[in-house]
């Protein structure tokens, strides 16, 4: 490469952008969405499905799209083509699109016109456009040739925060401007006597106490709506605004949002508003809330659009998600609560319990021991049986299955269980199981083949009954198969049970929060070891058994595997087996994914449900493959979808302490509960799903803090399915093996996300999110990258170990396995398993009286992580994780047992300031030991280098012993410190040079770059062997360069690609290439990217054909690529 070529090579081009959706517009049956400078077009009528048809790239250069204005066609023919004015910040471009027959083409685009000021609104006036600009002026513009025809300012040149243009000709053009003074200014640009002559405002309207962010005018009703910083929406009766001097009357002041309101839109019958609280509200024009759409994550909804004919509302969020919602007006179709009018003189007694057999039969038992059936088809109560042995205490559970298998079970306080066929109650079978109270009943169903009923009696004994029916269906048989024994605890009974496919084991949850595994057929079960042998109460530890006093010797089979107190003291509420995993829910507000390996239960991942829902009652798989969580939040029953973050159903039932039952089928979902002595029934047609559509999944709700590429999965042609998302986007020749990069992102929203970025489609798929952190996640580190079947396995896939760390000094370690999955849209499945976690202030959480004490310790945040892998010749000695801590420390953690044990080994407070970055590298030289060197950088601009190999040597004096046993070692003083910058170091990278040295580059808050060559010299061995181990290398700086004004803001991403090429990224939104190796780094070229506040960058080579890829994470994600 010669000097001439330097300024063009290498040139980065944008491949993929995930940014807040800031513009949305419905045109006919298409949806236009603006994301960064790109236009996404969705087809809304594709056989009832919705899909993206095309991405029109780079319409606005370095500006972001804030809106679209479609040119009205006099013939009303927008079905074949449309002229769209696309605008955002100071840029405007017109694009002509044709979209006949599902094929979308860009016919023509104008130049990108740069205005002198911010564009708040655009309106087509026949062939020209009128623009409302930032300092209260209106411009008439010819968008085809790009020239200004008129420029009329207002006399009040205040800064605007929004504007709305009304009228179809220049003569009648009206502007309503939202000024910083919180007033609305109405004025008429055409009344200017001459061009450039300021026009005085016709009207000033006050009302809001914050600035106005959005306005919408409904001409047919003469209404104007405004959305403001003061969290309210106001509705104004304005009449025809084009007529000067009209009266403006505030007819509605709507408070409903809990944060600022960004957007408002008036429809013929509704008012739609959306804001920072991520809620989209549907109001009547009278100011009453009709519907609320919740589901977006993060910092709010930025754009709304409506399709009035279809009654759809479409919202675009800061999380870069796009969702479609159904406007149904007042209330919900096919939903409602009804009382089933149980109380009657003919039905004495009070209701004790209720259950649902399928979604159309309700069963209830009274304190008189009578069992009643309510059939929703017949709509009446019917007494099935009455048995006074079930007076005062009675449990009632219907068997699972679509129609409840036609069975239910009752249990009483004297150890009696009655199994009742609902259709022939006379054939009920009694079984006397215990001499004491039956504490709980649960069913377990395997296909249609095996049905078990589990009943917990005194002393933790669980009787397992086998239920079968005679071929005639007239009689049932109940046979006790075996007895299990629960681990001792105060409240020693089981709460739930399920078969573990294929059916050899039963998974149970108990009241103490443990999840247990029992053999389903103990007679066939070959004992693999301890635990499975029959134990007696006398043998069992005496700690528990409080309720088992009456029974002296209870025998039963212990669990073969147990996860003790997984869900805490409040107990497990349900267990479900699905897709190779076991899911358990509990009253600790979490649900666990578990799996059984080698006959042992292992926790995989803990997940939290929505905020405030601390009582999770169950979990269901719905037909579309996703899951829903059932739970109670205060006095409400909630069905919540973790996928869409939506509360699908909310029933104000009074809380979970009453008897309740839930049932769902594809046709309907039902929830029955007891209230005021009656059975209340909530039914929703369509089951647990809601018709709301996620057009595009959101990524992170808040800023991305770290981006890390894990590896690449190469999928063979058998997985090569033409991309559904971008049919027009595929270029010929891009077939062949599908390379998919697996990238991890973490965010302030407390989650870590696994992304798949295929090289062929320019799309991104979120595979999994890990939500274990309680505070923001700031750093990630990856090690142990391999393939699922070991190095010899030719099958595609990827495994890796990941450490994440962030606020509240919290660190988690998990493993990742990505395998092909032809059924998923991404063609990949990702399995995550949580391995270990660590918190510096764990001791504090255990202090009982902490609420009355002041915690004096600093609230440490982890700022950055680095993995330091030692030689493989030390077995069992996992890698070290170095963490940069905000309390001024560099901490070293030791990972053992492939990540299952994580503990603090050593620390140093050398920097005495917030440590921002850590980076590790190895030094290898012929005839020398491989040396691990750690570099740390702090807010004062210094870099410190630590020789970890020497420090970790056994008997080394570098590692000072801790002051107290149990406290970490002291990591002494660094080998070398370099004052590289005057302020904080935000990026750091190293690369070994061919000469055996290391290139070290750092970028700082002040926009400067610092590059130097670090030499590692070993002092000559003076004495014979033995001592060689103790030699300490000397680090020194050979050449040092600095570029003071490389960027205009923090340099947050830096990578040395080769000894002659470096790339840097900054908050000033430039990706810049630098030439190295000829003295001072020299500028080669730079590209403006669209992600603001970039916090991290990762670069990697993909393949010779594809070149390099670079992912930038900040308030969004952008992927660039370039060829070497």
């Amino acid at each position: 490469m010669e000097a001439l070529g330097d300024f063009v090579w290498p040139r980065a081009t944008s491949e993929l952008i995930l940014l807040p959706v800031t513009g949305l517009e419905c045109v006919g049956d298409r949806l236009l969405a603006g994301e960064g400078p790109d236009l996404l077009v969705y087809n809304l009528d594709f056989g009832g499905h919705l899909r993206m048809v095309k991405r029109v790239q780079n319409l606005l250069g370095h500006f972001l799209i804030h809106g679209f204005r479609v040119r009205p066609e006099p013939k009303g023919d927008l079905d074949s083509e449309a002229m769209v004015a696309v605008f955002g910040s100071k840029g405007l471009r017109i694009v002509k699109i044709s979209w006949g027959q599902s094929h979308l083409r860009e016919l023509w685009r104008s130049g990108l016109w740069n205005m002198s000021d911010w564009i708040w609104d655009v309106r087509w006036l026949e062939g020209n456009v009128a623009l409302a600009l930032g300092h209260n002026s209106v411009v008439l513009y010819d968008p085809v040739i790009g020239c200004m025809l008129q420029d009329v300012p207002c006399t009040d040149r205040c800064t605007l925060s929004s504007a709305c243009l009304i009228g179809d000709t220049w003569k009648e053009l009206t502007i309503v401007a939202g000024a910083v003074s919180n007033q609305l200014l109405v004025w008429y640009p055409a009344t200017a006597l001459t061009d450039n002559k300021p026009v005085a405002p016709d009207r000033r309207v006050s009302g809001h106490v914050g600035v106005i962010f959005s306005m919408s005018y409904l001409e047919s009703k003469g209404l104007l709506a405004t959305a403001s910083e003061d969290r309210s929406v106001r509705i104004w009766k304005v009449g025809d605004l084009r007529v000067p001097g009209g009266r403006v009357q505030n007819i509605g002041h709507c408070f409903g949002h809990s944060a600022r309101v960004w957007q408002v839109k008036l429809l013929e019958n509704y008012l739609i508003s959306a804001g920072e609280d991520c809620v989209c509200l549907v109001w009547s024009h009278e100011g009453e809330i009709l519907q609320a759409f919740r589901g977006h994550q993060g910092r709010g909804i930025r754009a709304i659009a409506a399709h009035e004919r279809q009654a759809w509302v479409i919202t675009g969020g800061d999380d870069s998600g796009i969702r479609l919602w159904h406007l149904v007006g007042r209330g919900y179709q096919g939903l409602g609560v009804s009382a089933l009018c149980f109380k009657s003189p003919s039905r004495p007694g009070a209701l004790k319990a209720v259950t649902l057999a399928g979604s159309w039969r309700v069963l209830a038992v009274t304190d008189a021991g009578a069992l009643y059936l309510y059939d929703m088809e017949v709509k009446c109560w019917e007494q099935l049986l009455e048995d006074n042995r079930f007076q005062s205490y009675s449990l009632l559970e219907a068997a699972p299955g679509p129609e409840g298998f036609g069975l239910c079970a009752l249990a009483n306080g004297e150890g009696l269980v009655k199994v009742v066929p609902i259709n022939t109650p006379t054939a009920a079978v009694d079984q006397n199981l215990f001499s004491g109270k039956v504490h709980s009943l649960s069913w377990a169903l395997r296909g249609y083949e095996e049905l078990l009923l589990l009943a917990s009696g005194p002393g933790g004994v669980v009787a397992c009954l086998e239920i079968s029916a005679a071929p005639t269906g007239k009689a049932i048989f109940v046979k006790e198969r075996c007895r299990y024994l629960l681990p001792p605890s105060k409240q020693r009974w089981h709460t739930c049970s399920a078969f573990l496919p294929p059916g050899d084991f039963l998974v149970c949850g108990d009241r103490r929060g443990s999840v247990l595994l029992f053999p389903a057929r103990p007679s066939l079960f070959k004992s693999p070891g301890v635990g499975s042998k029959a134990i007696t109460e006398a043998e069992a530890p005496a700690a528990g058994g409080g309720s088992g006093a009456s029974e002296n010797v209870a025998t039963g089979l212990g669990p073969v595997s147990a996860l003790h107190s997984l869900h805490g003291k409040q107990g497990v509420t349900s267990v479900t087996c699905h897709g190779g995993y076991v899911y358990s829910t509990g009253r600790d507000g979490s649900y666990y994914q578990l799996f059984v390996h080698g006959g042992q239960l292992q926790p995989v991942l803990r997940q939290k449900s929505c905020r405030g829902m601390n009582w999770i009652a169950g979990l269901r798989m719905v037909p579309d493959g996703s899951m829903v969580i059932l739970g109670f939040h205060a006095n409400e029953f909630i069905v919540w979808s973790p996928r869409s973050h939506e509360k699908l159903h909310i029933v104000n039932c009074g809380g979970g302490h009453r008897s309740w039952a839930f049932s769902d089928t594809e046709a309907a979902m039902a929830f029955a509960y007891l209230k005021d002595g009656d059975v209340m029934l909530y039914r929703a047609l369509g089951g647990c799903t809601r018709p709301n559509v996620i057009l595009r999944e959101g990524l992170h709700g808040r800023e991305i803090t770290c981006v890390k590429r894990v590896g690449t999965v190469t999928l063979g042609p058998e997985f090569e399915v033409p991309s559904l998302e971008l049919p027009d986007y595929l270029e010929p020749g891009s077939e062949g093996p599908g390379l998919i990069d697996i990238v991890l992102t973490c965010s302030e929203d407390t989650t870590v996300c696994v992304l798949a970025l295929p090289t062929t489609t320019g799309s991104a798929h979120a595979l999994t999110a890990v939500c274990n952190h309680i505070s923001s996640v700031r750093a990630l580190a990856v090690w142990g990258i391999g393939s699922p079947g070991g190095p010899q396995d030719p099958r595609p896939g990827l495994t890796a170990q990941v450490v994440s760390a962030g606020g509240r000094a919290e660190m988690h370690c998990f493993s990742l396995m990505v395998t092909p999955d032809a059924s998923a849209p991404s063609r990949l499945a990702c399995h995550v398993m949580h391995l270990s976690s660590h918190r510096l202030d764990e001791y504090w959480g255990r202090q009982r009286n902490r609420h009355r004490m002041v915690k004096v310790d600093p609230e440490t945040r982890y700022m950055s992580l680095a993995i330091c892998e030692f030689d493989s010749d030390k077995p069992g000695y996992g890698p070290l994780v170095a963490a940069a801590c905000s309390d001024g420390a560099v901490r070293l953690f030791l990972l053992q047992d492939s990540g299952r044990i994580l503990h603090l080994l050593a620390e140093t407070f050398h920097h005495k300031r917030c440590v921002l970055k850590v980076h590790s590298f190895t030094h290898e030289a012929p005839n020398q030991r491989r040396r691990l060197i750690l570099c740390s950088a702090a807010t004062d601009g210094t870099l410190a280098f630590w020789d970890l190999t020497t420090a970790m040597d056994r008997g080394s004096t570098t590692l000072g012993s801790p002051a107290h046993p149990g406290l970490p070692y002291q990591l002494g003083s660094p080998c070398l410190t370099v004052q590289a910058h005057s302020c904080g170091v935000n990026s750091l990278h190293t690369l070994p040079t061919p000469e055996g040295h290391h290139l070290v580059a750092s970028g700082s808050e002040d926009g400067s770059l610092h590059v130097f060559i670090l030499a590692v010299k070993m002092p000559e061995a003076q004495e014979a062997d033995g001592e060689a181990e103790q030699l300490v290398p000397q680090l020194c700086v050979l050449e040092e360069y600095s570029v003071p004004c490389a960027h205009a803001a923090h340099v947050t991403g830096l990578k040395i690609l080769s000894p002659s090429l470096m790339v840097s990224a900054s908050i000033d939104q430039r990706l810049t290439f630098w030439r190295l190796g000829r003295g001072e780094p020299t500028f080669m070229n730079s590209t403006v990217y669209h992600v603001p506040d970039v916090a991290d960058m990762d670069c990697w080579p993909v393949s010779p054909e594809f070149g390099h890829r670079c992912a930038l994470g900040g308030q969004g994600l952008e992927v660039y690529n370039w060829y070497d």
Binding site: F63, L64, S89, W118, G134, V209, G210, V211, R231, S232, F255, G256, H257, L281, E288, R302, R330, G331, Y332, Q333, G334, G336, V337, A339, C341, K343, P345, M376, K379, W381, I650, V651, D676, G677, Y682, V854, K855, D857, P858, E859, T860, G888, R913, C914, L916, C983, E1005, D1006, G1007, P1044, C1045, H1047, A1048, A1049, I1067, D1068, Q1069, R1070, N1085, S1086
Partner: protein, 332 residues
Amino acid sequence: MGRTSKDKRDVYYRLAKENGWRARSAFKLLQLDEEFQLFQGVKRVVDLCAAPGSWSQVLSQKVGGQTNGQVVAVDLQAMAPLPGVIQIQGDITQLSTAKEIIQHFEGCPADLVVCDGAPDVTGLHDVDEYMQAQLLLAALNIATHVLKLGGCFVAKIFRGRDVTLLYSQLRVFFSSVLCAKPKSSRNSSIEAFAVCQGYDPPEGFIPDLTRPLLDHSYDSDFNQLDGPTRVIVPFVTCGDLSAYDSDRSYPLNLEDGSEYKYTPPTQPPISPPYQEACRLKKNGQLAKELLPQECSINRVDKLPQPLIVPQCHTLLAPKVGDTGRNSSPLTH
């Protein structure tokens, strides 16, 4: 967490409260002064966008304390009064405000104009950067009316994508423009301060508040969008090395040995825009959507109704018609 968590997260927030400053930004001005000796020989100073008033506090101490020292604070919002500071509640884009300032200085121009104003960020980066730039340019515009030749102008900037355009605009009016960041401003923040010294407007420039100063646009040769000739002004870090690190998390008991004592905030905000909304929320008066059970009256017809409703209910219980249930069988 509790009330001490903010004290722990941010040492300057805590120090500001303990030292009686209205906001932690007071330290920023003090550290800027340490580096640039901003107040040397300064008699008349204007604080634009002054609320809540921490910079005015510093100015009144450093300048107002001297003989003939005068401090004028301007803000759109009301601000709690400060001794030795003349307050103007007005818009900095209005000529009347400029005239009022000059009036307070008895016709003399100001030696120093400072502006620590920032718009309420919306989270949309391009909008926020634009709004901040407009605020700075409005401050610059009024400064051209009140600043003496050779005077000094200090204003907050956001170092985002187009900050170089602001630099080039400022360099039109000042002989020296530097970007400075005090140690009390966090590393994670994109804020910095433009320190412009030696006010020297271009020849023939007539200050005009009726026309807003617009920011520059990228030029194909002089100030390129992505080329090598971007105007990046030198960067200076202010505050000595022994100063507290604003990014570091400190224990509550600081090194000087003094024991921690909680101090309440000095000056809570005066009537923020969201006050009414918060009051309604606190009283549970925000409008809420209808839950399905609340409209069950209209919806019951969608559901299968019980066929046998004992007659006594419909006769005696008045509420049966709308709730479909009866709570008092004793009425029978």
